[in-house]
Amino acid sequence: MNFFHNIGLYIIMLQKMLHKPTKWKVMKELILKDTEDTVVNSLGIISFVSFFIGGVITIQLALSMTGSFYPDYLVGFATRETIILEFAPTIISIIMAGKVGSFITSSIGSMRVTEQIDALEVMGINSINYLVFPKVIALLLYPFLISIAMFLGILGGMIACVYGGYSTMSAFIEGIQTDFVPFHMTYAFIKSFVFAFILATVPSFHGYYMKGGALEVGKASTKSFIWTSVSIVVFNFLITQMLLG
């Protein structure tokens, strides 16, 4: 019952987010600040994780593809498919649910606990529009992060593959170019946009409607991570079934 109540509340929050917009001059500043907090400040962790996980994926693929039966380019091909289709858009989004999601929930939750949201409301400001909408707009740049994750994942894989002695540079590059389906990129970016929306709104929901004190802010962050991850996994399945199934 509580689950359906929360779904309803989430939909109401999305509706309210579009009502009574904040003054554009103020909104512009909020969008820039949220872009820095959510996108720019995530570049480091995303680059680091993508590069090394790309390397690990390639090593594991190469180790399981030994023998003359497998063509040399197959490691590059499999690395590209794994990273573009699943690792970059989905796994990075789950990592972002931990990093950005927790940040959003705890910052909005702290505002709730310290009555800052009440202060906005009594001034006649639509606090949901003021707090959530700029995050949704800022995270429209999320596919840019995913592109970097794709590039660095494949680069990490190539370096691990070539310098680990599993294959040659030319074979790996041949693999990357073999049977490339451009729609897979479209599919990955559609997923990224949907996950970006989830990353902005689900943690905001948990922060905005939290009740209690400082301890509950921590609990809300944990809850937010779980529900953001669950939503990403469920929508990943639905989008894959709709677009590739």
């Binding site: 009502h19 009574k20 505002m111 310290t114 009555e115 800052q116 202060a119 409301e121 009594v122 006649g124």
Partner: protein, 253 residues
């Protein structure tokens, strides 16, 4: 002027406000007092529109709050200044940005003019040269003064203060009380203060409203509160040892 008619509010079918009616006069400081759990904060949140009351009317200058449309409510709220119990300053903004916030949101005036108004109110609350400090760098008393500055920067018609001197030492509490009183008189604001501090009653209360278990138990002036026969009010007023001793001294005289 604010008129409240038979306000009722329940949470999970538990009544918190059981039909409160009263009036807050223009240009006067009214204090809502009562023990913890008496319904003071809920009552104030209903007046501010943060809680939707179950029944009754709240009338701001002959206009029923519930019958106003969104734009009218927004316009009214822009004329209300609020000081929260914990100050509720935006911790990602400097003191200057906090005070400038209502102007940025509601006024289309040049930045220099906004800055002048901010500096004027900061001077009024004796916080000149604190513009670039963050709220976390300010003491509790300073934070309260910043909250007052933010509340009055837009020249409000109404000022609501929820426990404005809670957590402050007695001396600073008196400074805050006096500041609110002076600002109310200077700007002819209708001020409503939630408090359980008898010092505030002594310092600034022109009209006192005493709540008990969600009911308006007693209302009257500052001088009358020490003469009333109402047992609940007497128990509240003389609950501290200091006031008991003062009372005994007067009785002996």
């Amino acid at each position: 002027m604010i008129r409240v008619k038979n306000i009722k509010k329940s949470f999970n079918e538990k009544p918190v406000l059981k039909g409160i009616s009263c009036e807050f006069e223009k240009g006067k400081t009214s204090l809502i007092i009562g023990q913890t759990g008496s319904g003071k904060t809920v009552f104030m949140k209903c007046l501010l529109g943060l809680h939707k009351h179950d029944s009754g009317k709240i009338i701001f200058n002959d206009r029923d709050f519930e019958k106003m449309n969104d734009n009218q409510k927004m316009e009214l709220k822009s004329r209300i200044g609020t000081v929260f119990q914990g100050s509720a300053l935006f911790d990602s903004m400097t003191i200057e940005e906090n005070v400038m916030f209502p102007l940025k949101m509601f006024k289309n005036i040049p930045f220099d003019e906004m800055l002048d108004r901010v500096n004027l109110v900061l001077k009024r609350v004796e916080l000149e040269n604190s513009n670039n400090k963050m709220p976390s760098e300010a003491s509790g008393g300073m934070q309260k003064r910043v909250a007052i500055a933010r509340a009055i920067v837009n020249n409000p018609e109404y000022l609501f203060c929820d426990e404005p001197n809670s957590g402050l030492d007695p001396k600073t509490a008196i400074v805050i009380d006096n500041l609110i009183k002076e600002i109310t008189e200077e700007r002819n604001i209708t001020t409503i203060i939630n408090s359980h501090d008898m010092n505030s009653v002594m310092e600034i209360g022109e009209k006192i409203i005493f709540l008990k278990n969600g009911i308006l138990e007693w209302e009257g002036s500052k001088s009358n509160i020490f003469k009333t026969d109402n047992q609940a009010v007497t128990d509240f007023v003389y609950s501290s040892n200091l006031y008991k001793k003062v009372r005994k001294m007067y009785q002996k005289k």
